[in-house]
């Protein structure tokens, strides 16, 4: 039996193995990218800062890693990456399309003026802590 015939006979197996290796590599690489883990990390660390802060303080956080992961996953708009929900006292971080990780804080404060500062020299998130405003039931 010549080489061509051997290859032809086993072509389907070779194709399946190549497809398998490619799929598994993509899957493992995607998990290592860890958008879900980083979103959880940043949401929890941000709430820790909020829980220890007092009204009037301005906080600046290094979020360079978060913006790198978000950009790799095609999440480019800042408003999408960090979301401060003052009505529910929670912080949400979205680093991959279609999914965000949220965490609640117990400090009775509002987060105002969130701002992304790009490349000076790293990407940073800046926001101000303010006393909680009373809200009506409609909010």
């Amino acid at each position: 039996m010549n080489k061509k015939a051997v290859i032809k006979a086993n072509l389907i197996y070779i194709l399946i193995v190549v497809a398998f290796i490619a799929t598994m590599s993509l899957f493992v690489w995607d998990q290592m990218n860890g958008a879900s883990v980083w979103a959880e990390y940043f949401s929890k660390e941000t709430t820790r800062i909020i829980n220890t802060a007092v009204p009037g303080e301005t906080v600046t956080l290094d979020i360079h890693k978060a913006t790198e992961v978000a950009r790799k996953n095609q999440v480019n708009r800042f408003e999408e990456i960090f979301e401060f929900d003052n009505a529910n006292s929670r912080v949400c971080v979205k680093l991959s399309p279609g999914r965000k990780s949220c965490y609640y804080y117990f400090n009775n404060v509002d987060i105002i003026e969130p701002e992304l500062i790009l490349g000076r020299p790293i990407n940073m998130l800046k926001f101000t802590i303010k006393e909680k405003q009373k809200r009506t039931n409609n909010e």
């Binding site: 493992v28 290592m32 879900s36 959880e40 999914r99 949220c102």
Partner: protein, 150 residues
């Protein structure tokens, strides 16, 4: 072509495919389990909450005689968000060894169980004295990340 050999080859194809599927499932489950482990923040939460309340009890003028008065002033004076605290955290206060104030999700039993089992609440305790009153403070957190679809 030898038909029996061809049939054997075709049968082995399905065995090969099953093997590939089982290996792929194993790798997928293993990698997902490894990378999806929760970054456990409950102990940090309970320590911070405990510190905040301890500081408030020590320095602020809270009424430790009347439970009703204390309950109505506590959240505002200590700067805690009532809704968030009641849903995700646990606070228990004893004054002079008597139960004085308890709110939030959970109880002291869960705190005891949490010492040996990660599935239960993570708690922090503190004791302080104020104006001859012995205060026992226990705070807990069982909050896990909320993963939401957008």
């Amino acid at each position: 072509m030898n038909k029996k050999a061809a049939l054997g080859g075709q049968t082995m194809f399905f065995v090969f495919l099953m093997t590939i599927i089982i290996i792929a499932a194993g790798i997928g489950i293993g990698v997902s389990a490894f990378f999806s482990t929760e970054y456990d923040f409950r102990q940090v939460d309970s320590v911070l909450l405990n510190q905040k309340i301890s500081q408030c009890l020590s320095s602020k003028n809270l009424n430790l005689e009347s439970i009703e008065q204390f309950a109505s002033d506590f959240y505002e004076i200590c700067g805690l968000n009532k809704n968030s605290t009641e849903k995700h955290f646990f606070i228990h206060i004893d004054v002079n060894n008597k139960k004085f104030f308890e709110q939030g999700s959970g109880d002291q039993t869960q705190c005891s169980l949490g010492e040996d089992n990660d599935q239960y609440m993570e708690c922090t305790t503190n004791e302080l004295t104020k104006k001859d009153k012995k205060i026992f403070l226990q705070t807990g957190s069982k909050q896990k990340s909320e993963k939401l679809r957008t």
